[in-house]
């Protein structure tokens, strides 16, 4: 593992938390995998069979450079190259908020994977709220962009995300909310800066 990846892994508190939910030796798809740091973290610790998906040339090159399997494609176009339930876990780490077709991506995650794991910055974090009240778009460690150069399109709060899951009949099996590496259990939508979920498709009620 390169020093660059180790450094990033140390900075990404969510990696170790995600790893706790993943069975050793399982098959993992990481959507929007960036330079492959999460997959190389999981491969080294849990011996997973991992594949990343990314559309960006430099990310694809970085993954290949790090010996991480990567498939170059645009997530927005769906996951047509992947069979249903062909992965144990489909991960979307800090990418959901940058997707155009949020619902489509969540649906595809749970078509291809038996379980989904997702992380996103909590827009409802109190520091974000204060910046808004002071009249500015929030900028923080987890949302490190100015309004005019952000790739983020669909920022949401923890409560917003859970409402969408309810609407899409997605069953949340686990949730961890953290702030600066510490788990937040009291008033997470206010005090947590990063949310990590594990979820699966609940059976739709049969209607006549």
């Amino acid at each position: 593992m390169s020093t660059e990846i180790i450094r990033e892994a140390a900075n990404r508190h969510d990696f170790a938390l995600i790893a706790k939910w993943i069975q050793p030796g399982s098959k993992v798809l990481d959507l929007g995998c960036g330079n492959g740091s999460l997959l190389s973290f999981l491969r080294d610790r849990l011996d997973v069979k991992g594949y990343g998906v990314d559309k960006d040339d430099s990310n694809v090159l970085a993954c290949i450079d790090h010996g991480v399997n990567v498939i170059q494609m645009d997530l927005e176009a769906g996951l047509a190259g992947f069979d249903s339930l062909s992965f144990d876990y489909v991960i979307l780490s800090q990418t959901l908020q940058a997707m155009v077709n949020t619902e489509g991506v969540l649906r595809e995650m749970l078509r291809v994977g038996k379980q989904g794991i997702i992380t996103f910055p909590n827009f409802g974090y109190w520091r974000h709220r204060i910046q808004l009240m002071a009249g500015h778009m929030p900028v923080s460690d987890n949302i490190p962009y100015q309004w005019y150069n952000t790739p983020n399109l669909h920022l949401c709060t923890i409560d917003d995300f859970e409402a969408l899951c309810g609407k899409m009949n997605i069953r949340i099996t686990d949730r961890i909310v953290i702030n600066e590496g510490d788990t937040v259990s009291f008033m997470p939508n206010l005090r947590g800066s990063l949310a990590i979920y594990r979820f699966e498709q609940a059976a739709w009620p049969i209607s006549y």
């Binding site: 594949y51 290949i64 498939i71």
Partner: protein, 379 residues
Amino acid sequence: MQDSSFIGIVAPHTAHFPQALTLKSGEVLPEFDIVYETYGTLNSTKSNAVLICHALSGNHHAAGKHHENDKHPGWWDNLIGPGKPLDTNKFFVIALNNLGGCHGSTGPASINAATGKPWGSKFPMVTVEDWVSSQAMLLDQLGIQQLAAVVGGSLGGMQAMQWTLDYPDRVRHALVIASAPNLTAQNLAFNEVARQAIMTDPEFYNGDYYEYQAIPNRGLRIARMLGHITYLSDDAMGAKFGRKLRDGSLKYNFEVEFEMESYLRYQGDKFATAFDANSYLRMTKALDYFDPAFPHHGDLSLALAKAKADFLVVSFTSDWRFSPARSREIVKALLDNELSVSYAEVTAAHGHDAFLMPDPHYHQILRAYLANIDTGASA
């Protein structure tokens, strides 16, 4: 001054195989020669060998020059050499001319010992599978049990794939570039037009033109012109030639008027003097026949179940002859088999020919992948 990444002066070798080779068609080649070149040094554990498989009109001369004053180096010299993406300081690279070719390996122009005459029309059909068998025999003769990698573009990529199916324990990595799991109907059609151009040339003599001191180069020329159109993208042609006129004005006759015509005629003429029509016919047939999924009722995932190698699959956005969608079919089948695979879809304007061009991002991808291949501590 010579570039330090240039491989330098190289010389071809010829391997003779006195044993008969039964081909996929059932026909038998009683004996054969394979001409090949090598670049770099085989390490003590013989774990750093890389096989280059050529495409339709390629040959064994992939890198370096035969003579100091050669105008051009080998056909993939931009990839192969010391410090280049396929680094000859690390790898021992083998490039060969396939059976049925016209650059020294046994082909239609070779003398058939049984008759004392050129094989001509009697030369059997050769397939990708036959090439891979003969390549494995060459490796046996070189004492190489296992390839670190097999690399090929287009028809060469098909051979790389076939290697992983026929000799899954003899290849650790396969680099399948601008290739496809089989030809589309449109591609079959292009090949048929090319063959008809050759076979209807009055100088073809049913394939036995050697005996008549004839060369069907008009047909071969047209076949190559057609091929060239399909290897380039409309955009690349437009950018390079557009509607530019050769002499600045229209002449209202059938001489060369547009630059595009001039280029095609030049490419056709150049090729027709350097390539054998019978070889071209057989190379296009080998392309047509390749279809590993066919015996599995079209199920490519089932066909690739035998493979054990790690794969790098690369396609080019403007390649309409071997389109990215075809490469994604290969990737999907590899994923279904849970093999290690990476797939890069390179944005490039040059169409199918892009796989031979030194596009920086494309070469970085190959460099990064090849650099991670383990050739053992002694490499």
